[in-house]
Amino acid sequence: MKRILVCITAAAVMLSGCSKSNEQPVAQTAPVQASVSTGSTAKAPAPVVKKGTIPSVMIAGGYWTLLSEGENAGKMKWVDYAVPGTVVYAFTPSNASSETPYEVMKGVVRMTDGQKRDFVHITSEDKDYWAQDYSIGVNCVPGLVTGQKSYLYKKPNPADISDKLLPAGTIIGVSEEAVDDSNPFASQYRKVYAYVENKLIEGLYLSTGDFSTTQSDLLGMQLYTKLTEKNKEGKYLISDEVARRELIATANSLNLSSFISEKISSVMYEEGGR
């Protein structure tokens, strides 16, 4: 009897082991508490700069993933659009230097069209992605152009004004790089990154009076952009009525400056008349 018991126990352990070695891939998360939808109860996340990364800003484009298997291994596959102004983190390479402060892969083939492009290695929402170099401002915080005539400057000096203007409402990356203390105008200008009319603007400066880094205005502009973006046929990219209603409701809950609130109001007026 004892022998049978030992035998049964050993077999049971083996069976249990077998089933574990074939773990099922059903999506799993930690169990959640029961509740009716009551609004905010979760804790506000503290901004965390991940080790070995540089805070950066998506100014256009979207996220890509590097394929590691199959016939397309080594090519970049499109994942999704990024909301301009989203904070992401660029990875720093192990041999980071002032010349290569973040991880870039040059001349990688895009699966979509076979074109070769340069990609920056990033992480967003704990996911690993790549962003085309034109679409990201590395070592930046998000900003919004608020000035009606916002000239770009070649250097942080009023005498170095260029003929280029950034349109009001453009979401930009405002560089966090150290300012030159010997320049008396240094604090009045910041290096910016923007993507306007299919062109990357980099290495130029904007007067600090011409942009805002206020979170609510930036979010208001992101919502407005989402509400007004159209495809080639002139139809809204976000046409779902429930989605549009929620975008407007969020915008209405923000404490916006008049510049943005007028834009949102114009959309609301249009929605009301439709």
């Binding site: 069976l15 099922q24 059903v26 009716v36 996340p45 904070v87 989402k226 008349g273």
Partner: protein
């Protein structure tokens, strides 16, 4: 011989007891549970409805299935005390079943501008996961939501605002009853099961929805008894039917009203009053409007709002 038989039975009992299951939610409406035939091919056995709760074993396999060309990944599940296999991307574990009490937009990330161009309908059964404060707007909370997407033939996990759903079992049961009621054609049967839903301990919003459904069944009802209001704003509207047919004008709002006239498709009129309650006709839930002639302001009658458009772009130049 007898000893080895006992041993085999005991082994089977023990292996079943040792294989731990976790609660799971099957999210596909009309999806199947399968059993494996002797030739290894999966055969469909039990049809499930969206939101069915079952137990999931930590065991999966790729297998061919009847009616399919390529192999799919199956996971072993227990449903009503019997073991089956389910296609892996039809179910999820570690989340709570909930019913949507409102139409909700879905988001790729907990960012309020990262919305997808789609929404989930009120009454859908979904799996709710972790809550998360939006990193860009701390007054706004999002919650992970998993649903079955017919676009990708599998489950999709995204985010929605932390509102417009309930995971209370009576609310879920009430929506299951509502769904069943919509399948029935006999009005008395519908009314009976809807009234049983009212006996559940449901939240006020859900109670109101059920009551509306019951009210809708009483199509002869004079909707003025539910209250009427003056029409806010410009009441100019146009008759807009799918097929260009005429619409009826009635002496009171509701299908019980006597037909006192008709309006051609494309006629512009003015609405002065509107009912407080909606009615469902031809699958459209809308208010009834008291209409007047656009030019003479003469009284015309009551018309169902499902065939009226207040959208400027529908108006003639």
């Amino acid at each position: 011989m007898k000893k080895s038989l006992v041993l085999t039975v005991l082994l089977a009992v023990l292996s079943s007891a040792f294989a731990q299951t976790v609660p799971g939610i099957f999210l596909q409406e009309g999806g199947w549970l399968w059993t494996q035939k002797d030739d290894g091919v999966m055969a469909a056995k039990v049809k499930l409805s969206e939101g069915t709760e079952l137990d999931v074993y930590p065991e999966s396999k790729d297998s061919a299935y009847e009616g399919g060309k390529s192999a799919l990944n199956f996971v072993k599940v227990k449903y009503e005390s019997k073991d089956y296999w389910a296609i892996s991307n039809r179910l999820i574990t570690g989340k709570k079943l909930a019913v949507l009490t409102d139409d909700v937009a879905v988001y790729n990330t907990p960012h309020p501008a990262d919305v997808r161009n789609t929404h989930l309908d009120k009454g859908s059964l979904v799996a709710i996961g972790k809550k998360q404060i939006s990193p860009v707007l701390h007054s706004l909370s999002f919650v992970e939501v998993t649903y079955y997407s017919t676009a990708i033939y599998g489950i999709r996990t995204v985010y929605m605002k932390d509102a417009g759903y309930s995971d209370l079992s009576d609310d879920i049961m009430a929506f299951r009853i509502l769904s069943r009621a919509n399948e029935l054609t006999v009005v008395d049967q519908k009314k009976t099961i809807l009234q049983s839903a009212l006996k559940l301990n449901v939240t006020p919003e859900v109670r109101e929805l059920i009551q509306e459904e019951i009210d809708d069944l009483d199509i002869e009802f004079d909707l003025r008894e539910g209250g009427i209001e003056g029409f806010a704003g410009d009441g100019t509207c146009i008759v807009k039917t799918q097929d260009g047919s005429k619409i009826n004008l009635r002496d009171f709002p509701g299908l019980g009203g006597n037909v006192i006239g008709q309006l051609e498709d494309g006629t512009m009129v003015i609405a002065y009053q509107v009912t407080s309650r909606k009615q469902r006709i031809d699958g459209i839930r809308e208010y009834w409007y008291e209409l007047y002639d656009k030019n003479t302001s003469d009284y015309l009658g009551w018309a169902f709002g499902g065939y009226l458009s207040f959208e400027y772009e529908d108006f003639p130049e």
